[in-house]
Symmetry: C2
Subunit: 410 residues, 2 copies
């Protein structure tokens, strides 16, 4: 049995949708890496009685509870107070934290105020987890059967304390669970499910198959607790799953699509440029979010108007007139043009109607994605059926996916 964790992000900015969560997403990935199962991951407003009851429920369910946020200097932050109430002790000033606060303020040439000093005060029942990246320290508490940890809500500080202070302290909870991820392209989830139902239903104890759908692509994930099923059985089941998928286009990787693209190009010594219309720069943004992208990605052009398609990418006026900007000929010309302009091996291009405003009703969600390679240009045509934001997100996913599938084939 793997250890269970509950995650709680405190903050009205989250429950009102003012800010999009980043901490729960980060922690989910990291705990999954460590083989710790996240059983609940929730956002709650700055509300004392609710916090206390949610903390209790999480402790009942889990061996590890991580609370982020509510440690700021304003009067609507009171995670610390709730933890003092729950775990007892008295307020005490942590000397090392006070020194860190003074150092940070000195660097910014600011005086030490009462509010700043207050951030060094923690419950005496807590073990302090130093914050090398900001003012509010993390704190750790023991309950019957587990530990609860409070971390700041600022993502950089949360990540810093988690990695340097918390990971070593929870090493004993880390499991022996292995995961194998296989992306399957071009097969509907329901058909896959039909084909695999018998096999996955008969998996031995300790093994399980999950369908992880993400924007039209299905990822099959085989998870196995090797301390229960053994390494050999796990390896055999991975091989069986792969043999079931023979003939389908598949990719076995733990990497995200952008990370896979960067790693593959790096390995081959190849380069990429992107020309975006409907995705507006977001494909480029996703690729450059990967460490090391600058070695293979030279950059891109967002040509959001016909004028810019002509002026920057050199798309002939006549071609735009004849076919419109959302057409196979134009998006193929964009891909070829950006490949040449940037001097890269690959040129990827997108163009589409994201919402009604700029299109006829029957055209909304129509997207073309083209890829130029040393051997020519190909394009795909998609019809999406979401709102503007959804159509844009899916278009980005389709462009990344088309490139992944092309790299698999090369």
């Amino acid at each position: 049995m793997s250890a269970k964790a509950s995650l709680i992000a405190v903050g009205t900015e989250l429950t009102t949708g003012f800010v999009r969560d980043a901490n729960l997403y980060y922690l989910a990935q990291r705990l999954d890496d460590m083989g710790i199962e996240v059983v609940t991951s929730e956002m709650i407003p700055d509300d004392r009685p609710l916090m206390l009851s949610v903390f209790e429920e999480a402790m009942r369910r889990s061996d590890l509870v991580i609370v982020t946020g509510g440690l700021g200097p304003t009067e609507d932050d009171f995670t610390k107070e709730v933890l003092l109430q729950r775990f007892g002790g008295e307020w005490c000033e942590d000397e090392a934290t006070l020194e860190q606060i003074k150092r940070l303020l000195e660097r910014r040439s600011l005086p030490l105020t009462t509010v700043n000093r207050q951030q060094a005060v923690v419950p005496s029942s807590a073990e302090v987890l130093p914050n090398a990246f900001g003012m509010a320290p993390g704190t750790l508490y023991h309950y019957d059967g587990g530990i609860l940890v409070s971390l700041p809500g600022v993502p950089s500080e949360m990540r810093g304390i988690f990695e340097t202070e918390l990971v070593p302290r929870i090493a004993s909870l880390a499991g022996t669970v292995r995961h194998t991820q296989i992306y399957v392209f071009g097969v509907a989830e329901s058909l896959l499910s039909d084909r695999l139902r018998g096999w996955s239903g008969a998996l031995p104890e300790g093994l399980s198959l999950a369908y992880l759908p993400a924007m039209g692509t299905v990822c099959l994930r085989l998870s196995g607790d090797v301390s229960r099923c053994g390494e050999a059985v796990y390896a055999a089941k991975v091989a069986e799953l792969r043999s079931f998928l023979e003939g389908d286009t598949t990719l076995m990787t733990e990497l995200s699509f952008p990370a896979y693209i960067v790693a593959t190009l790096l390995q081959r010594g190849e380069t990429l440029a992107v020309a975006e219309s409907c995705t507006g720069g977001a494909v480029s943004g996703r690729i450059t979010s990967v460490s090391g992208a600058s070695k293979v990605y030279k950059g891109g052009v967002c040509s959001y108007t016909n004028e810019i398609k002509e002026r920057v990418l050199g798309i002939p006026h006549a071609l735009l007139e004849r076919h419109t900007a959302v057409s196979a000929p134009v998006v193929e010309a964009m891909a070829a043009s950006v490949r040449e302009l940037y001097g890269t091996n690959y040129g990827l291009a997108t163009s589409g109607y994201m919402e009604l405003e700029n299109a006829m009703p029957q055209q909304t969600g129509e997207v073309y994605i083209a890829l130029a390679t040393p051997t020519g240009v190909v394009s795909n045509h998609y019809l999406l059926n979401q709102n503007r934001q959804g159509n844009q997100e899916w278009s980005v996913e389709r462009a990344l996916r088309d490139l992944v599938v092309a790299l698999l084939g090369d």
Copy 2:
């Protein structure tokens, strides 16, 4: 008192961080718009006993429970089964849903399989909420004191059913809460808190002030239930808050920064282009996520290497040699160049070191942001202290914020 809602997103792809939540984020904003308070918003894995216990807890806390996901055709989806167990009744095939499924399959020239047909089967205790965008319908159940709604996890389908079917049915829960948001630039949260503590502590019943921090910018939000405090008192308190902030750079808006930028440029008949290095296209992506962006945003260049800065943006080789790509002269030249190349009123540019790999330790997180306007070019210099992803996110925020502040001043 406003109505309370609990949101539950079901899916192991969420609790393992394979997919980043979009549904909870969307629902949080929409319910906040409607004056319904979200008290818990959580992600849980595909686990029957856990689902049941989390549903019960949510019903205990709330007048409205919205569950998304777990309605797919695969064997690890069983929200429906858990709801049948909780609310009773028997399985019955919904005729209208079956017709919709047949229509969707016909359009894709696919036969009706047992698995597909299964998606039209719902508990007889449910009211069916038709899904015009996919196969699995929403369902609605009554419990003592509230309603629970199950919606598909596919964002487009979830949004579609929420807007067309659910919003009319929960109109009676919508509150009389008003929100006023004021962004305050260049003032630390702790100083603001010191200045406003007395005032906010003395707010009449039904009024509250929240600090919504987001990447270095503080937004003050005054919320008032006008059915309790009255419209006149609410308006008076908004005016008082504004007078407290006189002399600070502030922006009162319900819009996000990208939406504010697009709306302001549209109103002024002005245009924008962006040249990105360290932000890699993400600034462009954020601006084009706004409906109507194509009327004011002509596009951008992602120049991720020095070669492209020279070739596409025409930055002189000597300037790059003398100052390096991360310097005020180069980023100012990028802003001026993209403004000219795209023929716009404004040119915004970014350049920085996002991680150690490409920089000396003391340079990591160093970012320059420049804005070219008809009257000249100015730049700001920032030192960020996060990891690659965090530094990139903050750089995007800073670029948008710098443009917002510039538009306020013009």
